[in-house]
Subunit: 414 residues, 2 copies
Amino acid sequence: MSAQPFSSRWVPGLSHVRDVALDRLPQGFRAAGVAAGIKPSGGHDVGLLVCDSADATSAARFTRSGVQAAPVLVTRERCRLDALRAVAVNSGNANAATGSLGYQLAAKMQGAGAMCAGVHEDQVAVCSTGVIGVQLDGRAIVSGLSAARGQLRPDGAQDLQLAIETTDLFHKHAALEVDIPGGTVSLTAQCKGAGMIQPSHATMLCFVETDAVLSAETADLLLGVTVKRSFDRITVDGQLSTNDTVILIAGGASGVTVEPESEAEVRFGEALDMLLRRLALLIVRDGEGSARVGRVVVRGGHQPNVERAARAVANSPLVKTALHGGDPNWGRVAQAVGMALPETAPLPVDIAIEGMQVCVAGQAVGHDAEALAARVQGAEVEYVIGLPGDGCETEVFFSDFGHEYIRINAEYTT
Amino acid sequence: MSAQPFSSRWVPGLSHVRDVALDRLPQGFRAAGVAAGIKPSGGHDVGLLVCDSADATSAARFTRSGVQAAPVLVTRERCRLDALRAVAVNSGNANAATGSLGYQLAAKMQGAGAMCAGVHEDQVAVCSTGVIGVQLDGRAIVSGLSAARGQLRPDGAQDLQLAIETTDLFHKHAALEVDIPGGTVSLTAQCKGAGMIQPSHATMLCFVETDAVLSAETADLLLGVTVKRSFDRITVDGQLSTNDTVILIAGGASGVTVEPESEAEVRFGEALDMLLRRLALLIVRDGEGSARVGRVVVRGGHQPNVERAARAVANSPLVKTALHGGDPNWGRVAQAVGMALPETAPLPVDIAIEGMQVCVAGQAVGHDAEALAARVQGAEVEYVIGLPGDGCETEVFFSDFGHEYIRINAEYTT
């Protein structure tokens, strides 16, 4: 199993960061993934991640949905989110909309995870992904975690990766070495997500491990900033999940410290930023049948309007189907912007696609239609929109809408 | 050409209203539609509607988009919206995002319409629908209107209907006789729309004619109320168009008066309400490949939340693809509600589908899954959602998302 070699003009490489083998976790971490009978396919569906350091620090981010899955509630309510040392996870069942019984099962999963990881319950995050509204099979979870315990190993990252995937068409993970003042640290991540993606992160789970020494405050600061620039900036279908969870655990085994407001923090932060933007783009690329990835950049004088316009374009089924068809249909971009900003007519909007200006101050401008049509045939298409005023800017990455999205989502069953 | 016989449990018939032949307009109206070379298909693309009464009254509603097409701006800025006597319309080109030249062309279209209809310019509404961002062929419009003038006739409703259609798969029109105290009046409408539909009316045009005698205030009141209950309550793809226009013209030739706050007003209003809800549902049924129509009803104690939740469910690609697949996937309904109401967890949401309760206070409840699966195979599927509190309620009608939507929208070109 190997990762897709990653390449995107939107996430340039960094000279102090190298890709390394994907199976090995940073020093001090072990992981496992097993098939416990939760997925009908019989694939890997229960995973366990453990950090062996008693001094580990951590940070976490969750879905903002009003309907939060039981594992999210349990993790938020019962964990020391700044001192997590383990994650117990399952795929195939989201344990969402399952009420108090679901909550009890998530708590039981946390307890079993604690026993298998050998840590306190309040240091075990629980995560689930899959179908909503079906009670979790608690016995399968417990026996799965128990089996996983016997298979925990330093090169278990890919088994864990398999255990969190659902409709993913390819793996979303990475393993990096990062040179920072003081030494070299490892940074790895396992991630899943393909649909039900936006507007804060996504139907996505992402576990990030490092052997750097980070204070809990630094971990929280860096995760907060980088999640905002990655999982918060993507959309597949405009749907926010009930289960989104991102967890960073820093074990410290490298002995290399990332001090606040140091050069090391900048370098480590850049690497984490690159890592999460990469994974976020992989989610968009997967996008349940996606053929192309779009990036919409909106500039203007009013941040809420800038944000609204970008989301409206990125989530417009008309823009997304045009992107799928390799059609530069910028009229749909103008329509989406207008919809996002009602009662502002006439709105002097500028639109450029792949560097070609097609609309200035709300009016079509002459351009080489053939050259433009050729430019939107690629794997990445960029739309730059100007609204009145300046000083504000945002970006959203989005997938197209094709037949595969319909096939996957009309057939994926309750 | 005949209308689809209309039937929906959501729009019951009225004992004082009868369907009549579709070709004939109310007394005092004439219409025509011709092929002027604007649609690449060579089909009808320019239409003209005229009311012969100098005392006609009217009312109109328009898109709220910040990017409004030139004909919308011209009609809003240059017309006596309470005294319209004619509509000049074209399909195949929306005349949107076309700047000052587009505005001049829309004004020219209005002038040509006035000459051909024999009325003042400020009594001629102009409407366009089709591709965005391409300049209108002014000569084709003028010669089309000129040709239409020679073909104006009392039974020209269906030619006008053809001239406004774009991606419509079937006709959306109706002709009714309405018994009200004082006599019988006629009420007819021609309507188009299939995609780019929501949240105020839609990529839709709708022209309503009656020979009843209405004051301009009554016309405005009744159109306002009934548009809110029809075109404002539908969504195909969550996309608000640049060109939406609904126009009601009352010529008065029947001599039967609809007085304010009279029994006649109630009866006439009921008929107009039925008419517009019918047409709105036909738009959703068309829905660019739609196989099923959904209706989501949300009740609760806070109107903005009720509205947000209903829109989120109706526009969720996940709910829409499940509807397409005849899948009662209520977990996606719960997810969409949660997304619409962030930071409210745990949200005690109730969900019933086709009368079967599947979720109470956020928790799945036992139900006959087989019976439920059978119930969502029909042409109409109803979702009823309860949020905390009471006193507020809304409904949204929505189409599903199937392969046809992708095919139509990935291939419909700039």
